[in-house]
């Protein structure tokens, strides 16, 4: 714990400078410019401007909060406002410096995105010097506005905050899904008001509703819970109505949910850091391809998706167990390195000339048929989505059951301390192999679906990045947590898929998100109750 610290006027200055650096960074790597064409409010506010506004908001709020030092006395109103204003001003100063320097020296040799378009944006189209003054004034104004926000009563502050976030989120989702050009101004205002009011009402009435519903007889409570589940289920089933492209994104997200649930068993439950997880995804995909593609003439069996599916899963499972054997005695980083190698080996074998006659080498395997059931073809993303959903539901069910089973407990013990677990009577060999095999099976399932979704597969689809992505999904979601996997996949796979123009910044954002998460929320977005406890409330007494 930090001890009570004194307030210093340097704090808002440094906070603002950090914000300035972030804004500068966003501008120079081109994120601001790339998103100029994407409107949040049609014709008025672009996504790039929203990014910069977000920087002002985050750091002004931070500075305002820091006006009251930790464990110190509450800051007077003027100080809170002044801190926020200073931070806002600092951000503007940094950006202004960029413009001033950029006007003199052409920075484009180093920063290709330091263009006149960017400077124009930053100076509100007024150019130097008028624009600079406006920029500085704007920073002050933003600082004060967000300072005021911090001073508002909590309920009001939360409503406004949520409203402000809701507009860009909704707008971007809407535009991405329907190729729109942002929300019209009146619509945006309506979105702001509605979401702010909704949150306000929710906060006010959630408690009483909850207490009242808890007072209901248990039969009615169960009906209610069932009702909620049915609604959630209907919602999930209705999602493909959004159209073909959104369904495509959902299918990809779902495939990562499947893999995440599997890797979560290996890494989250059993604590075995597996970086070669893509291998089983590849194996599932190739088995599916070999069984179903008419291109493969050497293989005696030609069959449908549904017949091939169990073989794909079983082969991946077997491969999981086989990989498990040599690494039984390895821990931590050694395990990670060896599994990483295994993942690469599978990819290189698939790519090799040696197997080219059988599985096509770099040409891959094509003409994999889409699944069909009773003559009904799952030939578009909307239909495929349902197969993915079924897979995810089964996988989530298995993962939940395993977690609270004896096997789950064994894994947890192994994760905590292998030697002691063994000395308690836990069979390390059996339990570790089971973890690898279960995880691999789910990955194989994902791979099989992936193959028939794309109808063709190539070795280069199965590179290390897939393993890293899945790992990032479960870490960001919350290691060991099942809802966390879903949130993680939506955040790290679904969203980037929607925001295509940021594709080249994907890894950058991944890195930033991971660093931020590790610093601020190491337990993940939707953590397991146990882990949250461990990382945040080390104080005694409550572990339920």
């Amino acid at each position: 714990m930090k001890s009570a610290s004194k307030f210093s006027w340097m704090t808002p200055v440094t906070t603002g400078l950090i914000g300035g650096v972030v804004a500068l960074f966003l501008s120079l790597v081109g994120i601001v410019e790339a998103s100029l064409g994407r409107y949040v409010i049609t014709g008025i506010l672009s996504m790039g401007q929203v990014f910069l506004l977000a920087v002002y908001a985050i750091f002004a709020v931070q500075a305002a909060q820091k006006a009251t030092p930790e464990h110190g006395e509450k800051a007077p109103v003027y100080r809170t406002l002044a801190c926020a204003a200073i931070a806002g001003l600092m951000i503007s100063i940094v950006l202004a410096l960029l413009v001033v320097v950029g006007e003199q020296i052409d920075l484009r040799g180093v920063f290709i995105h330091a263009t006149p378009v960017l400077y124009d944006l930053l100076t509100f189209g007024l150019g130097v010097p008028q624009g600079i003054f406006v920029l500085l004034g704007f920073g002050l104004l933003m600082g004060i506005l967000f300072g005021v926000l911090v001073l508002l009563p909590k309920a009001l502050r939360k409503s406004i905050g949520v409203g402000l976030i809701a507009v860009p989120v909704l707008s971007v989702t809407y535009s991405a899904l329907f190729a729109g050009r942002g929300l019209q101004l009146p619509v945006a205002i309506a979105v702001f008001v509605i979401s702010a009011v909704a949150i306000f009402l929710w906060d006010r009435f959630e408690k009483p509703i909850r207490t009242r519903s808890q007072a209901l007889p248990s039969g009615q409570q169960r009906t209610m819970r069932l009702g909620v589940w049915v609604l959630a289920g209907l919602f999930v089933l209705a999602l493909p109505l959004l159209g073909s492209y959104p369904s495509e994104v959902l299918v990809i997200t779902g495939i990562f949910v499947l893999m995440g649930l599997g890797l979560n068993i290996v890494v989250g439950y059993a604590g075995l850091l597996d970086l070669g997880y893509v291998a089983f995804f590849a194996i599932g995909a190739y088995v599916m391809a070999i069984f179903t593609s008419p291109e493969i003439t050497w293989f005696p069996i030609h069959t449908s998706f549904w017949v091939a599916l169990p073989f794909a899963v079983l082969t991946a499972m077997l491969a999981g167990a086989i990989l498990g054997i040599p690494v039984l005695n390895m821990r931590g980083d050694y395990l990670a390195i060896v599994t990483l190698g295994f993942g690469e080996i599978i990819r290189l074998v698939a790519l090799s000339d040696w197997l080219k006659p059988l599985i096509g080498g770099s040409n891959g395997i094509t003409q994999i048929p889409k699944p069909t059931t009773f003559g009904l073809a799952f030939d578009n993303p909307q239909k495929l989505y349902y197969i993915v959903v079924i897979g995810c539901v089964i996988a989530a069910f298995i993962a939940t059951r395993l977690k609270y089973s004896r096997l789950g407990r064994n894994w947890m013990a192994i994760r905590e301390d292998e030697d002691v677990a063994q000395a308690m009577g836990i069979d390390l060999v059996r339990n570790k192999l089971l973890a690898f095999a279960t995880g691999a099976a789910l990955s194989g399932l994902a791979g099989a679906i992936f193959a028939s979704k794309l109808t063709s597969i190539y070795p280069h689809s199965f590179n290390l990045l897939v393993s890293i992505n899945v790992l990032a999904v479960i870490i960001v979601g919350g290691l060991g947590s099942i809802p966390g996997v879903i949130i993680g996949a939506v955040a790290l796979v679904g969203l980037p898929e929607l925001l295509r123009e940021f594709a080249e910044y994907r890894l950058l954002v991944y890195g930033a998100v991971l660093v931020f998460m590790m610093l601020r929320r190491p337990e993940g977005l939707l953590p397991e109750a146990r882990r949250k406890l461990e990382l945040h409330e080390m104080s005694p007494d409550v572990a339920e």
């Binding site: 063994q422 308690m424 146990r530 007494d541």
Partner: protein, 237 residues
């Protein structure tokens, strides 16, 4: 007949020859203690008995049956359980869950429940804190938990590795009293200790270990009276 007989045990860590022909016997109902300097090989002996390590040479028998080739998890089922050095509790499991893990190999629900109550009687502190995460217990409490967890296996032979390490004198007394109590209830104890004075005073018999070999053995009292032992391990002239 001896409950445990380790005969001419040689254990290696890679090329390091950690145990150089150790012979130790423990009779039913005894408290036997192993004392020796840091690095003498005490923990290695316990780990070799419990199956976490395997001897390259020599035999270990429990009730006459060889166990030195069995994996650790099947040695537990034969009634040997260990409280490891350095309070290695499962930090992210609650106290109660740790104790349940101790009974991992048992099937008798009734017996497990009885033993759980008994552990809570021996260590009332654990009962108060049964829902707390083990990693957040104090050092002394973790030591109690490690012992309690080992007891939950309902062992015939209990291996204790430095149960008094880092504890305040009053807790050390409590731990040693508890060991005597457990022993009086019929559990045979093999105790590794740095606190030689305390260990020798409760032990029936003792072995003195030096760099992988046994250099002295006798009853607890005999070793307490031995001027060499006094000098080397108790710091008295």
């Amino acid at each position: 007949m001896a409950l445990l007989e380790a005969n001419d045990i040689h254990t290696f860590y890679g090329a390091i020859h950690a145990l150089k022909g150790i012979t130790v016997t423990v009779d039913k109902g005894e408290i036997v203690t192993l004392i020796g300097a840091n690095g003498a090989g005490k923990t290695t002996i316990l780990n070799t008995i419990s199956g976490i390590l395997h001897p390259r040479q020599g035999t270990i028998t429990l009730d006459g049956e060889p166990i030195h080739e069995l994996p650790a998890h099947s040695i537990v089922t034969r009634g040997v359980s260990q409280s490891p050095e350095g309070r290695r509790v499962f930090g992210r499991l609650s106290v109660a869950e740790n104790l349940e893990m101790g009974a991992f190999t048992r099937k008798d629900k009734e017996g497990i429940k009885r033993d759980l109550e008994h552990v809570y009687e021996l260590f009332p502190r654990l009962k108060e804190r049964r829902k707390q995460l083990a990693g957040t217990l104090s050092g002394g409490e973790q030591q109690m938990l490690a012992m309690g967890r080992a007891l939950m296996a309902s062992p015939r032979l209990l291996l204790l590795d430095e149960p008094s390490m880092g504890l305040a004198p009053i807790l050390v007394d409590l731990i040693f009293d508890t060991i005597k109590e457990i022993n009086a209830e019929g559990v045979t104890v093999l105790l590794v200790e740095q606190n030689a004075l305390m260990a020798l005073s409760i032990a029936h018999r003792a072995y003195v270990l030096e760099t992988g070999s046994i250099v002295l053995s006798g009853t607890g009292q005999e070793l307490l009276d031995d001027p060499e032992v006094m000098k080397a391990y108790l710091g008295m002239d």
